[in-house]
Amino acid sequence: MNEIFGIPAQALLGQLLLGLVNGSFYAILSLGLAVIFGLLNIVNFAHGALYMMGAYVAWLGLELFGLNYWWALLLAPLIIGLFGVLIERALLRWLYKLDHLYGLLLTFGVALVIEGTYRYFFGVSGQPYPVPDLLAGATDIGFMVLPNYRAWVVVASLAVCLATWLMIERTRLGATLRAATENPKLVQAFGINVPLLVTVTYGFGVALAAFAGVLAAPIIQVNPLMGSNLIIVVFAVVVIGGMGSILGSIFTGLALGVIEGLTKVFYPEASATVVFVIMALVLLVRPAGLFGREK
Protein backbone atom coordinates (compact mmCIF):
# COMPACT_ATOMS: atom_id res chain seq x y z
CA MET A 1 0.00 0.00 0.00
CA ASN A 2 1.77 3.13 -1.16
CA GLU A 3 1.77 6.11 1.13
CA ILE A 4 2.03 9.82 0.49
CA PHE A 5 3.16 11.93 3.44
CA GLY A 6 2.43 8.97 5.66
CA ILE A 7 -1.19 8.76 4.61
CA PRO A 8 -2.29 5.85 2.46
CA ALA A 9 -2.67 7.04 -1.14
CA GLN A 10 -6.14 5.58 -1.25
CA ALA A 11 -7.40 7.80 1.54
CA LEU A 12 -5.65 10.91 0.25
CA LEU A 13 -6.81 10.66 -3.34
CA GLY A 14 -10.27 9.61 -2.24
CA GLN A 15 -10.69 12.69 -0.09
CA LEU A 16 -9.23 14.87 -2.83
CA LEU A 17 -11.86 13.63 -5.23
CA LEU A 18 -14.62 14.20 -2.70
CA GLY A 19 -13.15 17.64 -2.11
CA LEU A 20 -13.35 18.33 -5.82
CA VAL A 21 -17.01 17.36 -5.76
CA ASN A 22 -17.71 19.72 -2.87
CA GLY A 23 -15.65 22.37 -4.60
CA SER A 24 -17.86 22.09 -7.66
CA PHE A 25 -20.86 22.98 -5.53
CA TYR A 26 -19.01 25.88 -3.98
CA ALA A 27 -18.05 27.07 -7.45
CA ILE A 28 -21.56 27.03 -8.89
CA LEU A 29 -23.11 28.62 -5.85
CA SER A 30 -20.51 31.35 -5.45
CA LEU A 31 -20.78 31.99 -9.18
CA GLY A 32 -24.52 32.55 -8.81
CA LEU A 33 -23.96 34.85 -5.87
CA ALA A 34 -21.27 36.80 -7.72
CA VAL A 35 -23.49 37.27 -10.77
CA ILE A 36 -26.35 38.55 -8.62
CA PHE A 37 -24.13 40.77 -6.53
CA GLY A 38 -22.37 42.17 -9.56
CA LEU A 39 -25.50 43.62 -11.07
CA LEU A 40 -27.91 44.06 -8.16
CA ASN A 41 -25.46 44.77 -5.38
CA ILE A 42 -27.49 42.45 -3.23
CA VAL A 43 -26.09 39.53 -1.25
CA ASN A 44 -28.69 36.87 -1.90
CA PHE A 45 -29.05 35.19 1.47
CA ALA A 46 -31.86 33.12 -0.03
CA HIS A 47 -29.39 31.38 -2.33
CA GLY A 48 -29.14 28.35 -0.06
CA ALA A 49 -32.91 28.04 0.23
CA LEU A 50 -33.30 28.26 -3.55
CA TYR A 51 -30.67 25.56 -4.00
CA MET A 52 -32.75 23.44 -1.65
CA MET A 53 -35.88 24.19 -3.64
CA GLY A 54 -34.15 22.96 -6.79
CA ALA A 55 -33.39 19.65 -5.09
CA TYR A 56 -37.02 19.35 -4.00
CA VAL A 57 -38.26 19.96 -7.53
CA ALA A 58 -36.24 16.92 -8.51
CA TRP A 59 -37.52 14.82 -5.63
CA LEU A 60 -41.16 15.91 -5.88
CA GLY A 61 -41.00 15.55 -9.63
CA LEU A 62 -39.98 11.94 -9.21
CA GLU A 63 -42.45 11.15 -6.40
CA LEU A 64 -45.50 12.79 -7.89
CA PHE A 65 -44.98 12.76 -11.64
CA GLY A 66 -42.36 10.12 -12.26
CA LEU A 67 -40.14 12.83 -13.71
CA ASN A 68 -36.68 11.46 -14.14
CA TYR A 69 -33.40 13.09 -13.22
CA TRP A 70 -32.61 14.52 -16.65
CA TRP A 71 -35.93 16.31 -16.90
CA ALA A 72 -35.35 17.66 -13.42
CA LEU A 73 -31.97 19.05 -14.43
CA LEU A 74 -33.73 21.00 -17.13
CA LEU A 75 -36.95 21.94 -15.36
CA ALA A 76 -35.73 22.80 -11.87
CA PRO A 77 -33.58 25.77 -12.98
CA LEU A 78 -36.48 27.00 -15.11
CA ILE A 79 -39.11 26.70 -12.40
CA ILE A 80 -37.00 28.05 -9.59
CA GLY A 81 -35.53 30.68 -11.88
CA LEU A 82 -39.06 31.90 -12.53
CA PHE A 83 -39.70 31.88 -8.80
CA GLY A 84 -36.61 34.02 -8.44
CA VAL A 85 -37.97 36.44 -11.00
CA LEU A 86 -41.12 36.64 -8.91
CA ILE A 87 -39.13 37.46 -5.77
CA GLU A 88 -37.20 40.13 -7.60
CA ARG A 89 -40.23 41.80 -9.12
CA ALA A 90 -42.40 41.61 -6.01
CA LEU A 91 -39.90 42.30 -3.26
CA LEU A 92 -36.37 43.17 -4.22
CA ARG A 93 -36.93 45.96 -6.68
CA TRP A 94 -38.27 48.24 -3.96
CA LEU A 95 -34.88 48.22 -2.29
CA TYR A 96 -32.56 49.32 -5.05
CA LYS A 97 -32.55 52.92 -3.91
CA LEU A 98 -31.82 52.01 -0.31
CA ASP A 99 -28.76 50.87 1.56
CA HIS A 100 -27.62 47.51 0.18
CA LEU A 101 -27.87 45.97 3.62
CA TYR A 102 -31.62 45.96 3.36
CA GLY A 103 -31.32 43.57 0.44
CA LEU A 104 -29.35 41.20 2.63
CA LEU A 105 -32.00 41.42 5.33
CA LEU A 106 -34.85 40.92 2.91
CA THR A 107 -33.33 37.84 1.34
CA PHE A 108 -32.60 36.56 4.83
CA GLY A 109 -36.30 36.87 5.58
CA VAL A 110 -37.16 35.14 2.31
CA ALA A 111 -34.79 32.30 3.21
CA LEU A 112 -36.52 31.87 6.58
CA VAL A 113 -39.95 31.79 4.98
CA ILE A 114 -38.90 29.22 2.39
CA GLU A 115 -37.11 26.98 4.88
CA GLY A 116 -39.89 27.17 7.45
CA THR A 117 -42.50 26.24 4.88
CA TYR A 118 -40.52 23.28 3.62
CA ARG A 119 -39.82 22.17 7.16
CA TYR A 120 -43.52 22.12 7.86
CA PHE A 121 -44.27 19.88 4.93
CA PHE A 122 -41.22 17.65 4.95
CA GLY A 123 -39.87 17.62 8.49
CA VAL A 124 -36.16 17.76 9.12
CA SER A 125 -35.09 14.33 7.93
CA GLY A 126 -33.90 13.90 4.42
CA GLN A 127 -35.65 12.18 1.59
CA PRO A 128 -33.55 9.79 -0.44
CA TYR A 129 -33.19 10.48 -4.14
CA PRO A 130 -31.89 7.74 -6.39
CA VAL A 131 -28.93 8.12 -8.69
CA PRO A 132 -30.07 8.02 -12.33
CA ASP A 133 -29.47 4.64 -13.96
CA LEU A 134 -27.07 5.97 -16.53
CA LEU A 135 -24.74 7.23 -13.85
CA ALA A 136 -25.24 4.48 -11.32
CA GLY A 137 -22.53 2.16 -10.20
CA ALA A 138 -18.94 2.84 -9.52
CA THR A 139 -15.65 2.56 -11.28
CA ASP A 140 -12.74 0.91 -9.61
CA ILE A 141 -9.85 3.22 -10.43
CA GLY A 142 -7.34 1.25 -8.50
CA PHE A 143 -6.87 3.37 -5.43
CA MET A 144 -10.55 3.78 -4.72
CA VAL A 145 -14.00 2.92 -5.91
CA LEU A 146 -15.37 6.13 -7.40
CA PRO A 147 -19.13 6.33 -7.74
CA ASN A 148 -19.75 7.42 -11.32
CA TYR A 149 -22.27 9.97 -10.24
CA ARG A 150 -19.74 12.03 -8.34
CA ALA A 151 -17.51 12.22 -11.38
CA TRP A 152 -20.50 13.47 -13.34
CA VAL A 153 -21.12 16.20 -10.77
CA VAL A 154 -17.64 17.62 -11.29
CA VAL A 155 -17.97 17.50 -15.06
CA ALA A 156 -21.44 19.02 -15.14
CA SER A 157 -20.57 21.84 -12.72
CA LEU A 158 -17.43 22.77 -14.58
CA ALA A 159 -19.31 22.75 -17.86
CA VAL A 160 -22.02 25.05 -16.52
CA CYS A 161 -19.49 27.38 -14.89
CA LEU A 162 -17.46 27.66 -18.07
CA ALA A 163 -20.59 28.20 -20.15
CA THR A 164 -21.61 31.01 -17.81
CA TRP A 165 -18.17 32.56 -17.99
CA LEU A 166 -18.21 32.38 -21.78
CA MET A 167 -21.60 34.00 -21.91
CA ILE A 168 -20.61 36.84 -19.62
CA GLU A 169 -17.19 37.54 -21.02
CA ARG A 170 -17.57 36.69 -24.68
CA THR A 171 -21.11 37.47 -25.77
CA ARG A 172 -22.90 40.71 -26.48
CA LEU A 173 -25.44 40.01 -23.77
CA GLY A 174 -22.63 39.53 -21.32
CA ALA A 175 -21.02 42.74 -22.41
CA THR A 176 -24.26 44.60 -21.84
CA LEU A 177 -24.50 43.02 -18.41
CA ARG A 178 -21.00 44.07 -17.51
CA ALA A 179 -21.63 47.57 -18.73
CA ALA A 180 -24.84 47.81 -16.74
CA THR A 181 -22.86 46.80 -13.65
CA GLU A 182 -20.47 49.67 -14.14
CA ASN A 183 -22.90 52.37 -15.14
CA PRO A 184 -26.58 51.47 -15.24
CA LYS A 185 -27.82 54.96 -16.08
CA LEU A 186 -25.63 55.26 -19.12
CA VAL A 187 -26.63 51.84 -20.39
CA GLN A 188 -30.28 52.75 -19.89
CA ALA A 189 -29.68 55.92 -21.88
CA PHE A 190 -28.56 53.70 -24.74
CA GLY A 191 -32.03 52.19 -24.83
CA ILE A 192 -31.25 48.95 -22.98
CA ASN A 193 -34.04 47.91 -20.62
CA VAL A 194 -31.91 47.76 -17.50
CA PRO A 195 -34.67 46.71 -15.06
CA LEU A 196 -35.45 43.76 -17.33
CA LEU A 197 -31.78 42.91 -17.42
CA VAL A 198 -31.64 43.01 -13.65
CA THR A 199 -34.66 40.73 -13.31
CA VAL A 200 -33.28 38.23 -15.80
CA THR A 201 -29.91 38.27 -14.07
CA TYR A 202 -31.43 37.49 -10.71
CA GLY A 203 -33.46 34.70 -12.28
CA PHE A 204 -30.32 33.33 -13.90
CA GLY A 205 -28.34 33.37 -10.65
CA VAL A 206 -31.22 31.58 -8.93
CA ALA A 207 -31.41 29.04 -11.76
CA LEU A 208 -27.74 28.25 -11.19
CA ALA A 209 -28.48 27.55 -7.53
CA ALA A 210 -31.40 25.29 -8.45
CA PHE A 211 -29.21 23.42 -10.93
CA ALA A 212 -26.71 22.77 -8.15
CA GLY A 213 -29.60 21.54 -6.02
CA VAL A 214 -30.59 18.88 -8.53
CA LEU A 215 -26.96 17.82 -8.84
CA ALA A 216 -26.79 17.46 -5.08
CA ALA A 217 -30.01 15.49 -4.67
CA PRO A 218 -28.63 11.98 -5.21
CA ILE A 219 -25.62 12.66 -2.98
CA ILE A 220 -27.17 14.43 -0.03
CA GLN A 221 -30.48 13.59 1.54
CA VAL A 222 -32.93 16.13 0.17
CA ASN A 223 -33.93 18.04 3.30
CA PRO A 224 -35.10 21.59 4.10
CA LEU A 225 -31.90 22.48 5.91
CA MET A 226 -29.47 21.47 3.19
CA GLY A 227 -28.97 25.03 2.01
CA SER A 228 -28.55 26.95 5.22
CA ASN A 229 -25.26 25.55 6.43
CA LEU A 230 -23.79 25.41 2.96
CA ILE A 231 -24.58 29.05 2.21
CA ILE A 232 -22.40 30.41 4.98
CA VAL A 233 -19.36 28.54 3.69
CA VAL A 234 -20.17 29.91 0.25
CA PHE A 235 -20.22 33.42 1.70
CA ALA A 236 -16.74 32.83 3.04
CA VAL A 237 -15.68 31.53 -0.37
CA VAL A 238 -17.02 34.68 -1.96
CA VAL A 239 -15.18 36.91 0.50
CA ILE A 240 -11.96 35.01 -0.22
CA GLY A 241 -12.40 35.18 -3.96
CA GLY A 242 -13.60 38.72 -4.03
CA MET A 243 -16.59 39.73 -6.06
CA GLY A 244 -14.52 40.97 -8.95
CA SER A 245 -14.16 38.18 -11.45
CA ILE A 246 -16.28 35.23 -12.57
CA LEU A 247 -13.30 33.04 -13.19
CA GLY A 248 -12.05 34.02 -9.77
CA SER A 249 -15.15 32.67 -7.99
CA ILE A 250 -15.02 29.40 -9.94
CA PHE A 251 -11.37 28.88 -9.17
CA THR A 252 -11.74 29.82 -5.50
CA GLY A 253 -14.72 27.53 -5.04
CA LEU A 254 -12.89 24.54 -6.49
CA ALA A 255 -9.68 25.29 -4.65
CA LEU A 256 -11.40 25.60 -1.30
CA GLY A 257 -13.31 22.37 -1.81
CA VAL A 258 -10.03 20.60 -2.44
CA ILE A 259 -8.34 22.24 0.55
CA GLU A 260 -11.25 21.18 2.73
CA GLY A 261 -10.86 17.61 1.48
CA LEU A 262 -7.16 17.61 2.23
CA THR A 263 -7.81 18.96 5.70
CA LYS A 264 -10.11 16.02 6.33
CA VAL A 265 -7.17 13.71 5.75
CA PHE A 266 -4.47 15.46 7.69
CA TYR A 267 -6.39 17.26 10.40
CA PRO A 268 -10.05 16.22 10.37
CA GLU A 269 -11.10 18.28 13.38
CA ALA A 270 -10.39 21.50 11.50
CA SER A 271 -12.24 20.57 8.33
CA ALA A 272 -15.36 22.52 9.22
CA THR A 273 -13.47 25.71 10.00
CA VAL A 274 -10.59 25.72 7.53
CA VAL A 275 -12.47 27.83 4.99
CA PHE A 276 -13.14 30.48 7.62
CA VAL A 277 -9.55 30.46 8.79
CA ILE A 278 -8.39 31.02 5.24
CA MET A 279 -10.92 33.83 4.95
CA ALA A 280 -9.50 35.50 8.04
CA LEU A 281 -5.96 35.19 6.66
CA VAL A 282 -6.89 36.54 3.24
CA LEU A 283 -8.61 39.49 4.90
CA LEU A 284 -5.44 40.36 6.73
CA VAL A 285 -3.31 40.28 3.64
CA ARG A 286 -5.65 41.25 0.80
CA PRO A 287 -8.88 42.79 2.11
CA ALA A 288 -10.39 42.95 -1.38
CA GLY A 289 -10.14 39.19 -1.81
CA LEU A 290 -7.86 37.23 -4.09
CA PHE A 291 -9.47 38.31 -7.34
CA GLY A 292 -11.42 41.27 -6.12
CA ARG A 293 -11.41 44.79 -7.32
CA GLU A 294 -12.10 47.52 -4.81
CA LYS A 295 -15.37 49.18 -5.80
Binding site: W94, L95, L101, Y102, F108, L112, I114, Y120, V239
Partner: protein, 311 residues
Protein backbone atom coordinates in the same frame (compact mmCIF):
# COMPACT_ATOMS: atom_id res chain seq x y z
CA UNK B 1 -37.00 65.06 27.41
CA UNK B 2 -39.90 64.84 29.80
CA UNK B 3 -41.60 62.30 27.55
CA UNK B 4 -38.59 60.08 27.89
CA UNK B 5 -38.55 60.28 31.68
CA UNK B 6 -42.19 59.19 31.82
CA UNK B 7 -41.36 56.23 29.65
CA UNK B 8 -38.56 55.20 31.98
CA UNK B 9 -40.75 55.62 35.04
CA UNK B 10 -43.53 53.50 33.61
CA UNK B 11 -41.00 50.96 32.47
CA UNK B 12 -39.47 50.76 35.92
CA UNK B 13 -42.82 50.22 37.59
CA UNK B 14 -43.75 47.54 35.09
CA UNK B 15 -40.47 45.80 35.65
CA UNK B 16 -40.99 45.75 39.38
CA UNK B 17 -44.49 44.29 39.36
CA UNK B 18 -44.32 42.05 36.30
CA UNK B 19 -43.36 38.82 38.07
CA UNK B 20 -46.62 38.80 39.99
CA UNK B 21 -48.51 38.32 36.76
CA UNK B 22 -46.10 36.70 34.35
CA UNK B 23 -43.84 33.66 34.48
CA UNK B 24 -40.52 35.01 35.89
CA UNK B 25 -38.31 32.76 33.75
CA UNK B 26 -39.94 34.09 30.60
CA UNK B 27 -39.52 37.67 31.82
CA UNK B 28 -35.85 37.08 32.54
CA UNK B 29 -35.37 35.64 29.08
CA UNK B 30 -36.99 38.76 27.61
CA UNK B 31 -34.70 41.02 29.63
CA UNK B 32 -31.57 39.16 28.55
CA UNK B 33 -32.52 39.35 24.91
CA UNK B 34 -33.53 42.98 25.32
CA UNK B 35 -30.04 43.72 26.56
CA UNK B 36 -28.61 41.72 23.67
CA UNK B 37 -30.68 43.72 21.21
CA UNK B 38 -29.69 47.03 22.81
CA UNK B 39 -26.03 46.07 22.55
CA UNK B 40 -26.52 45.15 18.90
CA UNK B 41 -28.39 48.37 18.27
CA UNK B 42 -25.45 50.37 19.59
CA UNK B 43 -23.49 49.10 16.62
CA UNK B 44 -26.18 49.23 13.97
CA UNK B 45 -28.18 52.25 14.98
CA UNK B 46 -25.43 54.55 16.14
CA UNK B 47 -22.38 53.48 14.16
CA UNK B 48 -24.16 52.07 11.14
CA UNK B 49 -22.43 48.69 11.21
CA UNK B 50 -24.56 45.59 10.63
CA UNK B 51 -22.98 42.67 12.44
CA UNK B 52 -24.48 39.37 11.36
CA UNK B 53 -22.53 37.31 13.85
CA UNK B 54 -23.40 38.81 17.19
CA UNK B 55 -24.46 35.43 18.53
CA UNK B 56 -20.73 34.65 18.81
CA UNK B 57 -20.48 37.13 21.68
CA UNK B 58 -23.70 36.07 23.34
CA UNK B 59 -22.72 32.43 23.10
CA UNK B 60 -19.04 32.64 23.99
CA UNK B 61 -19.93 34.51 27.18
CA UNK B 62 -22.70 31.98 27.85
CA UNK B 63 -20.27 29.08 27.62
CA UNK B 64 -17.55 30.85 29.59
CA UNK B 65 -19.88 31.66 32.45
CA UNK B 66 -21.36 28.18 32.30
CA UNK B 67 -17.93 26.57 32.49
CA UNK B 68 -16.80 28.89 35.27
CA UNK B 69 -19.87 28.22 37.39
CA UNK B 70 -19.78 24.44 36.95
CA UNK B 71 -16.03 23.90 37.16
CA UNK B 72 -14.80 26.64 39.47
CA UNK B 73 -17.66 27.11 41.94
CA UNK B 74 -17.39 30.87 41.99
CA UNK B 75 -20.00 33.47 42.77
CA UNK B 76 -22.36 34.51 39.99
CA UNK B 77 -21.12 38.08 39.65
CA UNK B 78 -17.61 36.75 39.03
CA UNK B 79 -18.97 34.21 36.59
CA UNK B 80 -20.74 36.90 34.64
CA UNK B 81 -17.65 39.11 34.70
CA UNK B 82 -15.59 36.32 33.17
CA UNK B 83 -18.17 35.90 30.45
CA UNK B 84 -18.11 39.60 29.67
CA UNK B 85 -14.33 39.64 29.46
CA UNK B 86 -14.40 36.68 27.07
CA UNK B 87 -16.93 38.40 24.83
CA UNK B 88 -14.92 41.61 24.86
CA UNK B 89 -11.71 39.84 23.86
CA UNK B 90 -13.52 37.99 21.08
CA UNK B 91 -15.05 41.30 20.04
CA UNK B 92 -11.59 42.80 19.76
CA UNK B 93 -10.37 40.00 17.48
CA UNK B 94 -13.46 39.86 15.29
CA UNK B 95 -13.73 43.63 15.16
CA UNK B 96 -10.12 44.11 14.16
CA UNK B 97 -10.63 41.77 11.22
CA UNK B 98 -14.07 42.93 10.18
CA UNK B 99 -13.49 46.67 10.35
CA UNK B 100 -11.22 46.35 7.34
CA UNK B 101 -14.27 46.16 5.11
CA UNK B 102 -17.54 47.98 5.09
CA UNK B 103 -21.22 47.47 4.53
CA UNK B 104 -22.08 44.10 3.04
CA UNK B 105 -18.58 42.71 3.40
CA UNK B 106 -18.49 43.66 7.06
CA UNK B 107 -21.71 41.74 7.60
CA UNK B 108 -20.49 38.68 5.72
CA UNK B 109 -17.20 38.64 7.56
CA UNK B 110 -18.86 38.83 10.96
CA UNK B 111 -21.16 36.00 9.87
CA UNK B 112 -18.28 33.82 8.75
CA UNK B 113 -16.19 34.48 11.87
CA UNK B 114 -19.19 33.75 14.07
CA UNK B 115 -19.53 30.46 12.25
CA UNK B 116 -15.97 29.66 13.23
CA UNK B 117 -16.89 30.27 16.85
CA UNK B 118 -19.87 27.95 16.37
CA UNK B 119 -17.71 25.13 15.09
CA UNK B 120 -15.22 25.66 17.86
CA UNK B 121 -17.99 25.36 20.44
CA UNK B 122 -19.25 22.27 18.64
CA UNK B 123 -15.95 20.45 18.68
CA UNK B 124 -14.16 21.63 21.81
CA UNK B 125 -14.19 18.83 24.38
CA UNK B 126 -15.19 21.06 27.27
CA UNK B 127 -18.32 22.60 25.78
CA UNK B 128 -20.29 19.37 25.54
CA UNK B 129 -20.89 19.77 21.82
CA UNK B 130 -24.41 18.87 20.85
CA UNK B 131 -25.30 18.07 24.46
CA UNK B 132 -24.47 21.55 25.59
CA UNK B 133 -23.49 22.63 29.06
CA UNK B 134 -26.21 21.58 31.47
CA UNK B 135 -26.97 22.04 35.11
CA UNK B 136 -25.25 25.38 35.57
CA UNK B 137 -25.84 26.52 39.16
CA UNK B 138 -26.91 30.06 39.92
CA UNK B 139 -24.70 30.30 42.95
CA UNK B 140 -24.80 32.81 45.78
CA UNK B 141 -24.54 36.48 44.92
CA UNK B 142 -21.50 37.93 46.68
CA UNK B 143 -21.36 34.66 48.54
CA UNK B 144 -24.47 35.41 50.58
CA UNK B 145 -27.67 35.64 48.60
CA UNK B 146 -28.77 32.45 46.84
CA UNK B 147 -30.18 33.08 43.40
CA UNK B 148 -31.93 29.72 43.07
CA UNK B 149 -35.30 31.26 43.79
CA UNK B 150 -36.80 32.54 40.53
CA UNK B 151 -38.11 35.74 42.09
CA UNK B 152 -34.79 36.69 43.64
CA UNK B 153 -33.03 35.91 40.37
CA UNK B 154 -35.53 38.08 38.53
CA UNK B 155 -34.66 41.20 40.49
CA UNK B 156 -30.99 40.50 40.03
CA UNK B 157 -31.53 40.30 36.27
CA UNK B 158 -33.44 43.58 36.39
CA UNK B 159 -30.43 45.20 38.03
CA UNK B 160 -28.09 43.76 35.38
CA UNK B 161 -30.35 44.93 32.60
CA UNK B 162 -30.68 48.43 34.00
CA UNK B 163 -26.90 48.58 34.38
CA UNK B 164 -26.31 47.56 30.77
CA UNK B 165 -28.97 49.90 29.53
CA UNK B 166 -27.48 52.77 31.52
CA UNK B 167 -24.03 52.12 30.04
CA UNK B 168 -25.48 52.30 26.53
CA UNK B 169 -27.36 55.48 27.36
CA UNK B 170 -24.23 57.15 28.72
CA UNK B 171 -22.25 56.07 25.66
CA UNK B 172 -24.76 57.45 23.21
CA UNK B 173 -24.97 60.82 24.95
CA UNK B 174 -21.25 61.21 25.45
CA UNK B 175 -18.80 62.98 23.10
CA UNK B 176 -17.68 59.49 22.06
CA UNK B 177 -21.23 58.71 21.05
CA UNK B 178 -21.46 61.92 19.06
CA UNK B 179 -18.40 60.96 17.05
CA UNK B 180 -19.88 57.53 16.39
CA UNK B 181 -23.00 59.09 14.98
CA UNK B 182 -20.90 61.44 12.91
CA UNK B 183 -19.11 58.42 11.47
CA UNK B 184 -22.45 56.83 10.64
CA UNK B 185 -23.66 59.94 8.87
CA UNK B 186 -20.53 60.61 6.84
CA UNK B 187 -17.40 58.64 7.47
CA UNK B 188 -15.27 60.51 4.99
CA UNK B 189 -16.02 63.82 6.64
CA UNK B 190 -15.25 62.45 10.10
CA UNK B 191 -11.97 61.17 8.76
CA UNK B 192 -11.13 64.48 7.19
CA UNK B 193 -11.84 66.17 10.52
CA UNK B 194 -8.98 64.19 11.97
CA UNK B 195 -10.78 61.43 13.86
CA UNK B 196 -9.21 57.98 13.91
CA UNK B 197 -12.36 56.46 12.53
CA UNK B 198 -11.15 52.87 12.73
CA UNK B 199 -10.30 53.16 16.40
CA UNK B 200 -13.74 54.56 17.21
CA UNK B 201 -15.43 51.80 15.27
CA UNK B 202 -13.37 49.15 16.97
CA UNK B 203 -14.07 50.53 20.43
CA UNK B 204 -17.79 50.63 19.70
CA UNK B 205 -17.58 47.07 18.43
CA UNK B 206 -15.85 45.84 21.57
CA UNK B 207 -18.35 47.64 23.77
CA UNK B 208 -21.24 46.14 21.86
CA UNK B 209 -19.67 42.69 22.09
CA UNK B 210 -19.06 43.04 25.83
CA UNK B 211 -22.66 44.02 26.50
CA UNK B 212 -23.90 41.17 24.32
CA UNK B 213 -21.69 38.99 26.46
CA UNK B 214 -23.30 40.38 29.59
CA UNK B 215 -26.67 39.33 28.20
CA UNK B 216 -25.38 35.87 27.34
CA UNK B 217 -23.71 35.28 30.67
CA UNK B 218 -26.83 36.30 32.58
CA UNK B 219 -28.98 34.12 30.36
CA UNK B 220 -26.87 31.09 31.24
CA UNK B 221 -27.51 31.64 34.91
CA UNK B 222 -31.22 32.17 34.36
CA UNK B 223 -31.83 29.05 32.29
CA UNK B 224 -29.07 26.87 33.71
CA UNK B 225 -27.48 25.87 30.43
CA UNK B 226 -25.42 27.03 27.46
CA UNK B 227 -25.94 25.29 24.14
CA UNK B 228 -25.04 25.58 20.49
CA UNK B 229 -28.21 27.55 19.85
CA UNK B 230 -26.50 30.46 21.63
CA UNK B 231 -23.78 30.61 18.96
CA UNK B 232 -25.89 29.65 15.97
CA UNK B 233 -26.35 32.10 13.11
CA UNK B 234 -30.12 31.88 13.54
CA UNK B 235 -29.66 33.66 16.87
CA UNK B 236 -27.61 36.33 15.11
CA UNK B 237 -30.50 36.75 12.72
CA UNK B 238 -32.98 36.94 15.59
CA UNK B 239 -31.29 39.87 17.24
CA UNK B 240 -31.28 41.74 13.92
CA UNK B 241 -34.98 41.09 13.68
CA UNK B 242 -35.65 42.25 17.22
CA UNK B 243 -33.83 45.51 16.62
CA UNK B 244 -35.50 46.03 13.26
CA UNK B 245 -38.97 45.39 14.64
CA UNK B 246 -38.42 47.59 17.64
CA UNK B 247 -36.73 50.42 15.85
CA UNK B 248 -33.12 50.76 14.76
CA UNK B 249 -31.36 53.71 16.30
CA UNK B 250 -33.96 54.29 18.98
CA UNK B 251 -33.10 53.75 22.63
CA UNK B 252 -36.14 51.77 23.70
CA UNK B 253 -36.86 50.13 20.36
CA UNK B 254 -34.71 47.02 20.83
CA UNK B 255 -36.35 46.36 24.20
CA UNK B 256 -39.80 46.41 22.64
CA UNK B 257 -38.57 44.33 19.74
CA UNK B 258 -37.10 41.72 22.05
CA UNK B 259 -40.32 41.59 24.05
CA UNK B 260 -42.39 41.04 20.91
CA UNK B 261 -40.15 38.39 19.37
CA UNK B 262 -39.40 36.36 22.50
CA UNK B 263 -43.03 36.27 23.59
CA UNK B 264 -44.17 35.44 20.05
CA UNK B 265 -41.72 32.55 19.81
CA UNK B 266 -42.63 31.25 23.22
CA UNK B 267 -46.34 31.24 22.64
CA UNK B 268 -46.24 29.95 19.09
CA UNK B 269 -43.53 27.33 19.34
CA UNK B 270 -45.81 24.55 20.50
CA UNK B 271 -48.85 25.57 18.58
CA UNK B 272 -47.44 26.03 15.11
CA UNK B 273 -44.03 24.38 15.06
CA UNK B 274 -42.02 25.27 11.94
CA UNK B 275 -44.38 28.12 11.10
CA UNK B 276 -42.58 30.19 13.71
CA UNK B 277 -39.64 30.44 11.33
CA UNK B 278 -41.98 31.42 8.53
CA UNK B 279 -43.59 34.09 10.67
CA UNK B 280 -40.18 35.46 11.63
CA UNK B 281 -39.25 35.58 7.96
CA UNK B 282 -42.46 37.36 7.05
CA UNK B 283 -41.92 39.92 9.79
CA UNK B 284 -38.41 40.49 8.44
CA UNK B 285 -39.70 41.05 4.95
CA UNK B 286 -42.52 43.29 6.13
CA UNK B 287 -40.14 45.37 8.23
CA UNK B 288 -37.61 45.83 5.46
CA UNK B 289 -40.18 46.72 2.85
CA UNK B 290 -42.65 48.86 4.71
CA UNK B 291 -41.77 49.26 8.31
CA UNK B 292 -38.14 50.24 8.42
CA UNK B 293 -38.44 52.52 11.41
CA UNK B 294 -39.79 49.77 13.61
CA UNK B 295 -42.46 50.10 16.29
CA UNK B 296 -40.77 52.78 18.35
CA UNK B 297 -39.46 54.55 15.30
CA UNK B 298 -42.96 54.85 13.88
CA UNK B 299 -44.29 56.08 17.21
CA UNK B 300 -41.57 58.67 17.53
CA UNK B 301 -42.09 59.91 14.00
CA UNK B 302 -45.72 60.58 14.80
CA UNK B 303 -45.04 62.64 17.91
CA UNK B 304 -45.37 66.35 17.16
CA UNK B 305 -42.24 67.12 19.16
CA UNK B 306 -39.94 64.76 17.41
CA UNK B 307 -39.80 65.89 13.85
CA UNK B 308 -36.08 66.40 14.08
CA UNK B 309 -33.21 63.93 14.47
CA UNK B 310 -33.98 60.84 16.51
CA UNK B 311 -33.17 60.60 20.21
Amino acid sequence: MRNVSWVYLIGAVLLLVAPTVFYPVLLMKVLCFALFACAFNLLLGYVGLLSFGHAAFLGSAAYTTGLAMTRLSITPELGIALGVVMAAVLGLIVGALAIRRQGIYFAMITLALAQMVYFFCLQAPFTGGEDGLQGVPRGKLLGVLSLENDLVMYYFVVVVFVLGFWVIQRTIHSPFGQVLQAIRENEARALSLGYHVDRYKLLAFVLSAALAGLAGATKTLVLGFATLTDVHWATSGEVVLMTLVGGVGTVVGPVIGALVIVVLQNELADKVGPWVTVIMGLIFIACVLAFRRGIVGEMLARLPVNKGPRD
